[in-house]
């Protein structure tokens, strides 16, 4: 185990090295670029035996790792914003083939350069697991866990781990680097080699052919596999803690100072860190509001939020992306999760950090005050643009 003050993108490249990825392919795009630089340097220095495939665009990088993954290789790719949109088509195939590809998304919004979650949120239908992380240590740890989850024989599913560009990708902070031997033992080589036979020949295959059968079947099995990420991720978090001594809640959510809280702010990514500083301040002032950091958006932690609903009076949902005409994706999904409950906490929607707008500690204090007021029956507008 060692330490280094490193930027978020180097934490990602370090995880790739520790996981002994066999095939990596990526096309540089700001703010992801330096991951490809670090990987190229590691390749040039011969730090471990892997192939780095230079490509002419993001679409091809996804196809390269898809093909490599079909042979059983452990693979990695990464992109940002518009690059991810360009990758959309082959991502659907990677998901459909149930290939355990792991990808880092360095968030960049789809209208400009600065970060929000609109890039990864636009890929909800590709059939990947979608995770959002807060700080550089969590990037490294989550990418290692992503391989363990993706390659689990119960699911075999690609995972995308997203973190905010600039504010995290280029911010340097102390990161603990686990020993290579410990990672080797915890994360043995990939054994999730998928069948590539047509499904008429091998029903266990996920490389569905064109030979008839029930056309809905691949969607059903795919959906069920993605839903199972929840159990596998929770198991993985337990075993990760046992080996490396760190954990992030149960993997799906990470509650922060929720013991005496009456209301929770729900946030994802770097702004959850800023929210922690705000929660510290508010609780010191006697305000009973905590944070539930959402780590897994797909699958959504429906059961966890239903459990928390029993103890809480209100949820303030902070969405860092919006589907125009439809609203904040986390807010919509949270409310759907609570529908079956007889008693539901108050829910408020906050739009914050879109287009890279800075979200400050005092913004979260305002959010905390609003949800506490709404939970006590006070009149508060339901939707706020922070």
């Amino acid at each position: 185990m060692s330490y280094e003050v490193m930027v978020g993108n180097k934490a990602a490249a370090t995880a790739v090295k520790l996981a002994k990825v066999q095939v990596a392919s990526a096309f540089p795009i700001t703010p992801q670029t330096t991951i490809t630089q670090y990987l190229s340097e590691m390749y040039a220095a011969g730090e471990w035996d892997f192939d780095f495939v230079n490509v002419e665009g993001e679409l091809t990088s996804q196809v390269v790792v898809q093909a490599a993954s079909r042979t059983g290789a452990r693979t990695f790719t990464c992109t940002s914003g518009p690059g991810l949109l360009y990758m959309h088509h082959p991502m659907v195939r990677t998901g459909g083939f149930r290939l355990p590809v792991v990808m880092a998304i360095v968030h960049r919004n789809t209208k400009g350069m600065q970060p929000d979650h609109s890039d990864l949120m636009s890929q909800q239908w590709t059939g990947w697991g979608h995770q959002y992380v807060e700080h550089a240590q969590e990037i490294l740890d989550s990418l290692l866990m992503a391989y363990k989850v993706a390659e689990d024989p119960r699911i075999r599913i690609p995972i995308a781990v997203g973190y905010d560009g600039y504010v995290l990708s280029y911010t340097a902070e102390p990161v603990e680097i686990p020993a290579q031997e410990a990672v080797d033992e915890w994360l043995p080589p990939n054994k999730a080699i998928p069948s590539i036979l047509p499904d008429e020949v091998d029903p266990s295959t996920f490389a569905r052919g064109w030979g008839g059968g029930d056309p809905q079947m691949p969607w059903k099995t795919h959906h069920e596999a993605v839903m199972k990420i929840e159990d596998v991720l929770k198991d993985t978090m337990d075993s990760f803690e046992k080996t490396f001594g760190r954990r992030y809640g149960n993997g799906m959510i990470e509650p922060y100072k929720m013991d005496d809280a009456e209301c929770a702010i729900i946030a994802m990514g770097t702004i959850a860190g800023t929210c922690k500083a705000a929660v510290d301040k508010m609780q010191a002032e006697g305000k009973k509001v905590g944070l539930i950091k959402l780590r897994s958006f797909i699958p959504f932690p429906v059961k966890d939020f239903q459990e928390w609903s029993k103890k809480l009076d209100g949820f303030a949902v902070v969405d860092r992306s919006i589907c125009p005409g439809k609203g904040g994706p986390v807010f919509g999904k949270l409310r759907a999760s609570l529908y079956d409950l007889e008693e539901r906490p108050v829910t408020l929607q906050f739009h914050a950090g879109l287009g890279g707008k800075e979200v400050r500690v005092h913004d979260f204090e305002m959010i905390g005050d609003k949800i506490l007021k709404a939970a006590k029956g006070g009149k508060v507008e339901q939707v706020t643009w922070v």
Partner: protein, 274 residues
């Protein structure tokens, strides 16, 4: 928590300086965070970076809005009141300038220290990259970090001879820094200049970006138009009557491409007097 803001220009290494400070702080057992502010930053453009140092892991991710310490790596930016904007009362500003702290015109309730980091950098590194040349002064006047920790951090980031040269720069700035003294100007003068230039240079006044200014010797010039073709900012204009170039200095960021390309060495880069 100590919050630091660094002002510099693209190419002076403000971002690297922020990482060296963060690494050195961690060497001393503290938690740290180094944040660059990213926009359309590039060589010559004013930019800002931030550092937080604390005894516990730093959680917040907002930019630093009210720093305890402001460090200015550029002598022209060091003249702008904006570098002490929002500085905490009683804070500290370290300027790269040849002037003594008593001569500094910035006003308000803060302490001032100065060091001629550009000269130190030119003499030790051969280039006006002032980031390491100011860190020795930083260690001495803030007392936040030991100069040994900064040297250790530099060796991690610049191994080999480059590291030794940078350490030489640090040692000189440690010895040569003047101050800190309480700022002599009590009332903050009106802040006239926004040091951040958005967008690209063609339509903006970027004259303050220059460390060196190109000067054309019309006697030597043969009118070949090479400089006119190569200028990346279209700062070189053509006088059709004389068949000679002239420089639109507000658009010139002092990159030196023209002087480098001139086949008869008719353009000389002259260090800007500050």
């Amino acid at each position: 928590m100590i919050e630091i803001r660094l002002h510099g220009r693209g190419g002076q290494g403000a971002v690297t300086a922020s990482r060296i400070i963060a690494t050195a702080a961690y060497e001393e057992g503290k938690y740290s965070q180094a944040i660059p502010m990213y926009g359309t930053e590039r060589r010559g453009a004013p930019l800002t970076a931030f550092v937080r140092i604390d005894d516990v892991r730093v959680r917040e991710r907002e930019l630093v809005h009210s720093p305890d310490i402001s460090v200015v790596l550029d002598p022209l930016i060091a003249k702008e009141q904006a570098v002490v904007d929002q500085l905490k009362p009683g804070g500290l500003v370290l300027l790269n300038t040849a002037y003594a702290p008593e001569e500094v015109k910035l006003g308000g309730d803060f302490k001032v220290a100065t060091v001629d980091a550009t000269t130190i950098a030119l003499e030790t590194l051969g280039r006006p990259i002032t980031n390491t040349a100011i860190l020795g002064a930083f260690a001495k006047i803030t007392g936040l970090l030991k100069v040994e920790s900064i040297e250790k951090a530099i060796k991690k980031i610049f191994p080999g001879r480059l590291g030794d040269m940078n350490i030489a720069a640090i040692k000189r700035s440690y010895d040569e820094v003047k101050g800190p003294i309480q700022a002599l100007v009590k009332d903050a003068p009106e802040q006239k200049v926004d040091i951040h230039v958005g967008g690209y240079g063609v339509l903006k006044d970027v004259s303050s970006w220059r460390v060196f200014t190109p000067e054309i010797d019309e006697e030597k010039c043969i009118g070949c138009k090479t400089c006119w073709i190569f200028c990346p900012e279209t700062a070189i204009q053509w006088d059709e009557e004389k068949n000679k170039p002239w420089i639109r200095y507000e658009a010139c960021k002092g990159c030196g491409v023209c002087a480098n390309e001139c086949p008869v060495d008719a353009i000389e880069m002259v260090r800007v007097e500050v």
